[in-house]
């Protein structure tokens, strides 16, 4: 380890308040850091659409149609692979269960496709059973572009790179193909409680 810099410490929240909620290697932050691998897309709502299904057989909703779907308010903890965790984050969105029921789901794996070209892969079993949403509001406000607005995938039980920003479709597939970060060596699944940050963990 490098020599310790006298008097330097990162910001951290009182550990006693967060016992049991913080996966190994994480620290709690009150900020909401913005991490991005590319420019922030800005998609007009009248051109936005969201699709679910196998390629060529997708069900598609316009923004108006999407917002008319039943939605949920959820409070969840989120964990970024860069080691920050944020507790009790409040979101509003459509459950992926709802979307898959309407689209007729078929296929064990999903690839999320996003404006700007980002992708990430998640097993369908991790998107159902109340574990995932397509969220369009954070903390009571419309989701800001820098945090993934108009809508992002929200899969809080996995590292937050799986909660793809600017999501536009969930493509169902038979194979668990790696997405953007997975291709560069991040873990194919990404369970924070087993500290699955990188391939081979």
């Amino acid at each position: 380890m490098s020599p310790v810099s006298r008097g330097f410490h990162r910001r951290r929240q009182d550990p006693a308040q967060t016992a049991g909620r913080v996966p190994p290697g994480q620290y709690v932050t009150k900020d909401f850091p913005v991490l991005s691998a590319g420019p922030t897309p800005h998609t007009d709502l009248d051109r936005w659409s969201f699709s679910v299904g196998r390629r060529g057989q997708q069900k598609t909703w316009s923004w108006t149609e999407f917002r008319a779907l039943p939605s949920q308010d959820v409070t969840v903890d989120i964990h970024c692979v860069t080691k920050w965790s944020k507790l009790d984050t409040v979101w509003q969105g459509v459950s992926v269960d709802t979307l898959l029921d309407l689209a007729g789901h078929d296929g064990p794996f999903a690839m999320a496709h996003c404006d700007g070209g980002y992708t990430t892969n998640v097993p369908v079993a991790d998107l159902t059973g109340g574990q995932a949403w397509v969220a369009y509001a954070y903390d009571g406000q419309p989701l800001e572009p820098e945090h993934g607005g108009p809508a992002r995938l929200l899969v809080p039980h996995l590292y937050f790179w799986k909660s793809a920003k600017w999501v536009r479709s969930l493509e169902l597939r038979d194979t668990n193909d790696p997405g953007f970060w997975e291709n560069y060596g991040y873990h194919i699944y990404g369970d924070p409680w087993r500290e699955q940050r990188y391939a081979g963990d």
């Binding site: 850091p33 590319g38 070209g117 970060w181 291709n183 940050r197």
Partner: protein, 81 residues
Amino acid sequence: MEALDGNAIGGLLIEVFGTEMTAAPTVCGNCGDARPVAELVVYLRAPGTIVRCRTCDSVLMAFVTAHERMCVDLQGLAVLG
């Protein structure tokens, strides 16, 4: 956080290539845009360092460090140096 430019990865590139690289010429493999490394678009605040073409946004270089080993992907470049 706004994007930076290739100057910000000067140290990283010396680590990877063993030599100063910010003045090295590059050509984007997607659109042919040509400019020195220093003028490429760099995203540092991410699970890895991503370097993109200033004209077409294609990923030109990606650097991910996992367990003290760095994965370096340069597939987006047609020319480097």
